[in-house]
C-alpha cells in the first residue's frame, strides 16, 4: 500500500517539474520585459497576455470564432471519414487498384498539399469551402492508408468464423472486417482530424477568413501584441484539448487483450 502511494506520489514529480519550469520561464520573461532587457514591443509581459484573454472573449468573440473553426474542422472530418474509409475499402477490396494507387496516396501524404490553397481560393472563392476542402484533401491520405491496413490486418480466425457461418460478402464486411478494423481505422481518422485542424487554422490565417486563424491574423495586423500572443495560446490550448479528446476516443475503441 505504502509502496503504491509512494509510487503514485513519485509519478507526480516529473509533471510538477515540467509545470514548474514553465512557470519559472514565464516569471523570468516577466522580469526581463518589466526591467526593459527585452523590448515589450516585441514580447509583451506574460501578465499582459494573461489579462488579454478576457478581451478575446468580450471584444473579439472568440467563442463564435472557435465554433466556426470547429464546424469547419468537423465538416472536413465527416467528409474525410466517409470518402477516406470508402476509398480504403475499395482499394483493399480490389488488389490491383491497391497495388496501382497505394504508392500515390502515400506520396500525396508527403507532398506539400497545403500550398494548393491559392488554387482552392480560385475554385471555391474566399469562403469556408476553401478551408474545408483544403483540410479534406490534406487529411485524406492517412485515413485511406489506415483503412487498408486495418482491413488487411483482420485476424484470419475471425474471417474463417464468418465463412463457417456462411456470411454473405456484405455481412462479412459489416459483422467481421469493419468492426475488427475499426481501432486501426480510427487511428487514421484521428491523424486526419489533426491534419484537418492544422489546415483549417492555417488556411484561416493565410486567407484571413473564418475563425481562430483569422483572429490571430487580425490581431497581428492591428499590432495588438498581447492579444496576438493570447490568441496563439488559445489556439494551442484548443489544439491540445482536441488531440487529447481524440486520443481518449482511440483508447476507448482499442480492444483489450
Amino acid at each position: 500500500m505504502s509502496v503504491a502511494v509512494a509510487r503514485r506520489s513519485g509519478s507526480y514529480m516529473p509533471a510538477v517539474a515540467g509545470l514548474g519550469s514553465l512557470l519559472v520561464f514565464f516569471l523570468v520573461m516577466e522580469a526581463l520585459v518589466q526591467s526593459g532587457m527585452v523590448s515589450r514591443f516585441i514580447v509583451p509581459p506574460p501578465s499582459e497576455i494573461l489579462g488579454s484573454f478576457g478581451r478575446l472573449f468580450v471584444e473579439e468573440h472568440v467563442v463564435s470564432r472557435f465554433e466556426q473553426t470547429i464546424v469547419e474542422c468537423l465538416t472536413a472530418g465527416v467528409m474525410l471519414t466517409v470518402f477516406g474509409i470508402a476509398g480504403g475499402v475499395l482499394m483493399q477490396r480490389y488488389t490491383l487498384l491497391q497495388r496501382a494507387c497505394e504508392t500515390w496516396v502515400a506520396a500525396l501524404a508527403s507532398a506539400p498539399v497545403a500550398l494548393m490553397y491559392p488554387l482552392f481560393l480560385v475554385i471555391f472563392g474566399r469562403n469556408s469551402w476553401t478551408i474545408i476542402m483544403m483540410a479534406f484533401v490534406s487529411a485524406l491520405p492517412p485515413v485511406i492508408l489506415k483503412t487498408i491496413e486495418g482491413i488487411s490486418g483482420t485476424r484470419r480466425v475471425l474471417v474463417n468464423v464468418g465463412r463457417s457461418f456462411n456470411l454473405t460478402p456484405s455481412q462479412q464486411f459489416w459483422k467481421i472486417l469493419f468492426p475488427a478494423a475499426l481501432p486501426t481505422i480510427f487511428v487514421g481518422v484521428r491523424l486526419g482530424l489533426i491534419f484537418a485542424l492544422i489546415n483549417v487554422v492555417g488556411v484561416e490565417f493565410l486567407i484571413n477568413y473564418g475563425g481562430l486563424g483569422q483572429l490571430i491574423n487580425d490581431l497581428s495586423e492591428r499590432y495588438d501584441l498581447a492579444g496576438t500572443y493570447a490568441a496563439i495560446c488559445f489556439v494551442i490550448l484548443v489544439s491540445v484539448l482536441f488531440f487529447m479528446t481524440l486520443e481518449k476516443i482511440e483508447r476507448w475503441l482499442r480492444p483489450v487483450d
Partner: protein, 264 residues
C-alpha cells in the same frame, strides 16, 4: 545454380507491361482526358482548369527561366537552414530526453502535444523577432521541424539495445564517444524518419510563410501567380514543387536506408 536456372526459365514468360502499370496508365490517361474535357466544356470559370497544352507551355517556360531557379534556391536554402538548426536541436533534445526517464516524463508531453499544433500561427511572432526577410521563414521552418525530429530521436534513444550501451560502457567511452559511436549509429533509422517528417513540415512552413509575406522564394511566386490569375503558371509551379518534395522525401529515406528496414 538449379534455382537460378529455373528463375531464368520463367522470366521471359512474364508480360512486358504488368496489369498494375496498365491500370496506372489508364488512370493517368483518364484523369488527363477528364481534365482536358473540363477545360473546354465551359462549365467552370475560365482558366480555373486550363488546358494541358497551356500547363505544359507554362511548365517549359518556368523551367527555362533563371529567375525560377533563383527563387527555388532561396526556398531550398531556407528549408536547408531550417532543417539544420531545427533538426540539430531536435536530435540534441531528443537524446537528452530519451536518455533520462524523469526529463522524458516532465517535458515530453509538451513536445508531444505542441508538435501537431498549426505552426503558421507563430508567423506574426517570428516576423517580430526576425523581420520580414528570409530569417523569419527559416525560424518558422525550425519551429516546424524541431518537434518531429525531437520526438522521433527520443523514441529511438529509448529503443537502443541495452547490450550496445553496455558495450560502450565496458570500453569506458566518454559521453561524446557514446553519442557518436553508440547512440547516433543505433538510432539512424528513427532519426532519419524524424528528419523525413521534419523536412516535410519545414518545407510546408517555409512555403506558407513565403506566401504570406515575402518577396522571393517559390511560395512568393505561387501567390504572385494567384494575384495576377496566371493559372497555368500556378499549376506548373505546383507540379514541379510536388515532384521535388516527394523526390526529396524519398531520397532522404533512401539515403538513410529506410528501405532496408524490413529486410534486416
Amino acid at each position: 545454380m538449379a534455382e537460378t536456372g529455373r528463375l531464368r526459365a520463367t522470366a521471359p514468360s512474364a508480360p512486358m507491361i504488368g496489369p498494375v502499370t496498365l491500370l496506372r496508365a489508364a488512370i493517368i490517361l483518364g484523369v488527363l482526358a477528364i481534365w482536358e474535357f473540363l477545360s473546354h466544356s465551359g462549365w467552370l470559370y475560365r482558366d480555373v482548369v486550363p488546358s494541358l497544352v497551356a500547363i505544359g507551355r507554362a511548365l517549359l517556360e518556368l523551367l527555362s527561366h533563371g529567375d525560377y531557379y533563383f527563387n527555388l534556391g532561396v526556398t531550398a536554402a531556407e528549408v536547408g537552414f531550417a532543417l539544420l538548426i531545427g533538426g540539430g536541436a531536435g536530435v540534441i533534445v531528443g537524446i537528452i530526453i530519451g536518455a533520462n526517464r524523469f526529463l522524458a516524463r516532465a517535458y515530453e508531453p509538451y513536445l508531444y502535444y505542441l508538435g501537431p499544433t498549426p505552426k503558421i500561427i507563430f508567423f506574426p511572432v517570428m516576423i517580430m523577432y526576425f523581420g520580414v526577410g528570409p530569417e523569419s521563414k527559416v525560424a518558422l521552418g525550425v519551429l516546424s521541424c524541431f518537434f518531429p525530429v525531437a520526438l522521433s530521436t527520443a523514441a529511438g534513444m529509448r529503443g537502443i539495445d541495452r547490450i550496445l550501451i553496455r558495450v560502450g560502457e565496458s570500453f569506458r567511452a566518454n559521453s561524446w564517444q557514446m553519442v557518436t559511436k553508440i547512440y547516433l549509429p543505433a538510432m539512424r533509422h528513427p532519426i532519419i524518419n524524424g528528419v523525413r517528417l521534419g523536412l516535410g513540415v519545414a518545407l510546408i512552413g517555409v512555403l506558407l510563410a513565403e506566401t504570406k509575406l515575402s518577396n522571393k522564394g517559390i511560395g512568393f511566386l505561387i501567390i504572385q501567380a494567384y494575384s495576377i490569375f496566371d493559372m497555368p503558371r500556378m499549376y506548373a509551379m505546383l507540379i514541379v514543387l510536388f515532384v521535388l518534395a516527394i523526390g526529396a522525401n524519398a531520397l532522404v529515406g533512401r539515403l538513410g536506408g529506410l528501405h532496408t528496414i524490413r529486410r534486416t
